[in-house]
Subunit: 287 residues, 3 copies
Amino acid sequence: MSFAKVLLCLDTDTQPSVFDAVVAVDAGVDQLLRHGGVEPDDVRNLVYGAMFTRGPADLNNTAVFIGGTDVATGEELLAGVRKCFVEPMRVSVMLDSNGANTTAAAAVLSAKKHVPLSGTNVTVLAATGSVGRRVVRLLAREGAMVCVASRQVERALQVCDEVRKVVPNAKLVPWMTDDEESVGEALVVATVVIAAGAPAVELLPDKRRRQCDPLKVAIDLNAMPPSGLGGIQPQDKAVERDGQICYGAIGVGGTKMKLHKAALRRLFEANDLVLDAEEIYELGKTI
Amino acid sequence: MSFAKVLLCLDTDTQPSVFDAVVAVDAGVDQLLRHGGVEPDDVRNLVYGAMFTRGPADLNNTAVFIGGTDVATGEELLAGVRKCFVEPMRVSVMLDSNGANTTAAAAVLSAKKHVPLSGTNVTVLAATGSVGRRVVRLLAREGAMVCVASRQVERALQVCDEVRKVVPNAKLVPWMTDDEESVGEALVVATVVIAAGAPAVELLPDKRRRQCDPLKVAIDLNAMPPSGLGGIQPQDKAVERDGQICYGAIGVGGTKMKLHKAALRRLFEANDLVLDAEEIYELGKTI
Amino acid sequence: MSFAKVLLCLDTDTQPSVFDAVVAVDAGVDQLLRHGGVEPDDVRNLVYGAMFTRGPADLNNTAVFIGGTDVATGEELLAGVRKCFVEPMRVSVMLDSNGANTTAAAAVLSAKKHVPLSGTNVTVLAATGSVGRRVVRLLAREGAMVCVASRQVERALQVCDEVRKVVPNAKLVPWMTDDEESVGEALVVATVVIAAGAPAVELLPDKRRRQCDPLKVAIDLNAMPPSGLGGIQPQDKAVERDGQICYGAIGVGGTKMKLHKAALRRLFEANDLVLDAEEIYELGKTI
């Protein structure tokens, strides 16, 4: 008997993500079991249903995807899913709440195409959001010297502490960036900048960006004008501007989409995978 | 790569329509993404998920269906869907809340099989409900002289005003029908009558219907006995009774179902269609 | 035209069962229409959607499954579904809230493999839960002499009354079992015991079980240690222990799963089946 590929989608939003559903269909999932408004207490019963319906040798055909706009609750759901497993009964699971994991992985992979990351100075603007924190984590693991910039230095410090817990030898500098001047200072020695700010908020004016002499790669993840990094267009994909290799949100988005589909396909190759930011990033290196 | 046909179903009822789902499956949809309790504020995020997951050349494989018993909110959802589009990124969409569009189109198409509509006197009973209003609109576009009958003349006037906004040269007469006598008067010169009343409410007794001399076609859309037009059976499909060609709700229902499926199939032939009453009616002329 | 197999899942829990969904996929259902938080008032509209979308000759391709943890409300939903039917328009329906029907049927079928049930003394421990009550019903129909044991004798009496309404010649003895001693007494003449108690509650210690001389078959439906019947392991499937043929929850579970799938497949062979405990049990005899 051949088994249909079943993806259990646990979404923290009342209306579960249509984006994630269509991507799953296009990645070859046969049956979507979509659940909206999922709370941590719901996880056990739902995941047991995924675990105890097929034999252990066939459980690679069942997987779990965690999505929704609330990344913190998504992380709680993932912790809940892991607690359900009773070896050898388990299923593979992927976390991509708010697209944060695939976006962060795609951004860092885009930078890595152009410069080696180990020992390189990288500044992450708006580093304390769900995407920014993951970008810092991935860069720290690659051995980059990361300037962790935020309007609130306490939050930057908190991200540094968090990341050091999982990457003990991380090289991180918290930085307060509350005006154009301080953003510029955060970029004085940076070879790479990744801006993970809110939609339609300019973090660095075009003129100022052009003055950043050591800057080789500039990546902006904001799709709504004005750009986070002045002068970068959302469609930019390795476009050279003023001697800098530039990426906009849509330019990174193509890689993000490929990663998302590849990670979904990977879920069905084994029944013991946990695909969080790091695993998705590593997978991205192979495609 | 070939794309699965994905239909995003936005339903205003808490439990989304099973009727609409089964019809979609039978019309060839591969993947249903069903959402219940959808409110206007939910639309953008859901429709963006449908728009931004496939390239513009493949978006004819993704479409939106709006259903549920609340037709007014369904119309709001349709307005919301149209606002989402950013050319060339858009998907086709069909509105059929409460089956009102397909029912109205099927009723008018049934009449049109037997008499030309342009210049013909047609009386619509219970013309101010969601089906009745659409029947009036479609008849007005065909150039019929429409007697818009309702128990409350203010509501009949309101429907006339509404229809004139979209069909400026509409020939409409509002009519108050609050008893057998006034319903009879509304039919004095009618060649066609379409009764769009509530279930199990008789609008015109059998005896009175038989006295309507110029009447050639009598269509009743109420499936629950007693009939809206006395003497007509729900199963009637072009049955001659007393020199009148008669249709009951189930008789019209066969055409309605064909239209519903044809419209769903049409959705997947292009990515820029908006199928409201008029478009569904025009489609019906071709099948 | 060939029709996709559509299963309308009416679940009383807010998040509909993933277990039931995966089993349905593996039983060959093409399209699941899953509804959570279903209340008795929702049934008519949902089931009408299943009934009035395909012709009577094709309605064997549409079926209804009722699930969820609340068995009493599941029974109400089933009653509501039956009321919807208007011959020849109807669809087949299966009730398996909380897995109670398939579990009870699998337990009784397991016993029947080893001893004839007619005239045999069978003790059901924790007989007043949703599984226990069904076990009693099935045994009564087979002509067994059933000792209906419960901590509260009033509840045991109530189950006896209930079962006599549907099996008038049932041979039932209510029994109060509020300590080890009284449980032992309930087993003095039993050839078979079926324990349908709560998870992780021991009803009969190992030592005491071994002292039950006439006991030939011991079946425990509790999967969480400690076992309901001391000394039985969840994986036991016709394992001989101390001269008794023993089954644990997982041992019975294999048969339960086969029954669940067989019943789902049966649903699509006709459009007029109602699969409750008895019909599922009879189906089990043929596989």
